[in-house]
């Protein structure tokens, strides 16, 4: 089953994304604090992650780096979703192992399409 973990501190973004992913047949978990995000990822064992860069208590880049250091998460699809659109931030994300990078504001359809493509799900 397709299972996504949303690591995002905006509750209404979590709600909107949860709605569209649930409707598309995904299982959805959410976590809104940077501090325990990696532990939550390990606990929930998703097969895809959407990760914001600017989170309370820990940056998304650090979380990404730590996830990629874990054997079970070095290849998991991770989409970085963020308001920081500078080129250098995209380069940092890709360098640290993000599968894809998307800037806010985003299109729901694009996010869903991207995640389905990353987990290899045919439309």
């Amino acid at each position: 089953m397709r299972h996504v973990l949303l690591i995002e501190d905006e509750p209404n973004i979590i709600e909107a994304l949860s709605f569209i992913f649930l409707r598309d047949g995904w299982k959805v978990d959410a976590h809104s604090d940077g501090a325990n995000a990696v532990a939550t990822a390990v606990q929930t064992a998703p097969n895809a992650i959407i990760l914001d860069v600017m989170l309370p208590n820990r940056s998304g880049f650090e979380i990404l780096e730590e996830l990629r250091s874990l054997p079970d998460y070095k290849d998991i699809p991770i989409l970085m979703l963020t308001a920081r659109g500078q080129t250098k931030d995209r380069d940092i994300a890709i360098a640290r192992g993000a599968s894809q990078y998307m800037t806010k504001p985003f299109s729901n359809a694009e996010v869903l399409k991207t995640m389905n493509a990353l987990v290899g799900h045919a439309p």
């Binding site: 209404n12 973004i13 909107a16 080129t87 985003f106």
Partner: protein
């Protein structure tokens, strides 16, 4: 002279087109920066001598400001040509071009005004965006809220039926986020617009003090005339300041008053009339310390016939303690200044005065001659010599606009790496937005 209700907008337009800051125009016109700000926002009507002085400061006719006439098309076209020295234009054909292709000429003029305004905005915003934690956070708040609204609204806009509970939930979310967005946008707009009543809440105490001092033209007649130190008088000057800015302000005013006691204003004005803004000759005449003389020169009362004076002071770590600009020679709003400033070089030789002629990189497109400055720097120990502890150092740099090149090779410097277009600088810390983009 007819009083115009909208002269302020035309004054602002002309000032921006010339790439001048409010403080400079205000000084040239003999008025305070805060008064000019009110005029430019059409909150004060002007006429008579004030309009004449402002027109002179902006190198235009009073009628062009007062009567709603378009700014000189020919001047604007020449400005556009000068701003792009890489594009060869025969300036002798300017009038002919304007006559034959008036609409195209007006288009070029309008675009040049817009380019100048945008360049100033970019410089200012980039500096802030790179280093200003409030701005970075505020923009993140705006973008995140917009994302939430977009995401939620696109679900609500989908055709077909939706569960009523979800629909109600999403409608509430959009409503709440729209309020957040309005608040965040207003806060950001106020901050960028420099609305002092609200922006002062978001400035650091040092920035807040800088802003208050700049509004008064760095001169305080109340302190000049004060024979004995009076804290209530000084506190009165800081009535609008936050508690933290008041603390800094009182220390600044205490030093200002001490300086005024040691070098009284009448004597200072007399020596300036005799020697000009020459700290070396004034030092020889008075035998006062150079840092004191620098501070007194920077606190002279505004005079449209006198060139502007800037002053920068830093501590031993290089942290700027005082930032009084001289035209385009300004300290960055946040973040570190250019490491090549003589202000910092002075810290390597305590007590040794240094004079430099510098070429400030300024904005792209400005003529080099307009960015020539003379600087006078000296660093001193501000605590008593002791075998214990670390000495507290302070470096002071006086900045004057240079009328003619004196030295063969003026020292090229910028304000901060991000906004500097000097290539291959050995002191560059980070790429420039002008060469490397955002």
């Amino acid at each position: 002279m007819e009083r115009s209700a909208f002269a302020g907008s035309r004054i602002r337009e002309r000032r921006v087109a010339l790439g001048l800051r409010q403080a400079e125009v205000a000084l040239r016109a003999g008025i305070s920066g805060s008064y000019l700000n009110l005029i430019e926002h059409n909150r004060r009507r002007i006429g008579g001598k004030v309009l004449l002085n402002i027109a002179a400061a902006l190198e235009t006719e009073p009628g062009a400001l007062a009567q709603g006439a378009e700014k000189s098309l020919l001047t604007s076209l020449r400005d556009a040509a000068i701003a792009r020295p890489d594009v060869e234009v025969d300036l002798s054909q300017t009038e002919d071009f304007a006559d034959r292709f008036t609409d195209w000429a007006r288009l070029i003029s309008a675009q040049q005004s817009q380019i100048t305004a945008l360049q100033q905005t970019v410089s200012s915003l980039s500096d802030r965006l790179a280093h200003d934690p409030f701005l970075s956070e505020a923009l993140h708040e705006v973008l995140s809220t917009v994302s939430a609204i977009r995401s939620t609204a696109s679900i609500l806009a989908e055709p077909g039926e939706m569960d009523q509970n979800w629909q109600r939930r999403f409608q509430t979310n959009v409503f709440q986020d729209s309020i957040r967005l309005a608040t965040a946008s207003q806060s950001l707009a106020d901050y960028l617009d420099g609305d002092s009543d609200r922006v002062l809440d978001t400035l650091s105490p040092l920035d807040e003090l800088d802003s208050l001092l700049a509004k008064n033209g760095y001169h305080f007649a109340e302190l000049e005339d004060m024979r004995q130190w009076s804290a209530p008088v000084a506190e009165g000057l800081l009535a609008e300041a936050s508690a933290a800015a008041k603390t800094l302000g009182l220390a600044y005013f205490r030093q200002y008053w001490r300086d005024a006691q040691n070098f009284r204003l009448p004597k200072l004005l007399q020596l300036v009339a005799e020697f000009g803004l020459d700290p070396v000759r004034i030092a020889r005449e008075t035998e006062l310390s150079l840092p004191l003389i620098f501070r007194r020169l920077a606190s002279l009362p505004p005079d449209p016939n006198r060139p502007p004076v800037g002053l920068m002071i830093c501590d031993g770590s290089g942290g700027l303690l005082f930032k009084q600009p001289c035209d385009d020679f300004q300290a960055p709003r946040v973040g570190s200044a250019c490491a090549l400033w003589p202000l910092y070089g002075a810290l390597t030789q305590i007590g040794v005065a240094a004079r430099h002629q510098i070429l400030h990189s300024g904005r792209p497109g400005t003529l080099g001659e307009e960015n020539l400055f003379d600087t006078f720097s000296i660093a001193e120990r501000v605590t008593s010599a002791s075998f214990e502890g670390v000495p507290v150092l302070r470096s002071t740099m006086l900045i004057l606009r240079a009328e003619t090149p004196t030295y063969n090779q003026p020292l090229p410097i910028g304000s901060t790496c991000r906004l500097c277009n000097i290539d291959a600088c050995p002191a560059r810390r980070e790429p420039s937005i002008f060469s490397d983009g955002f």
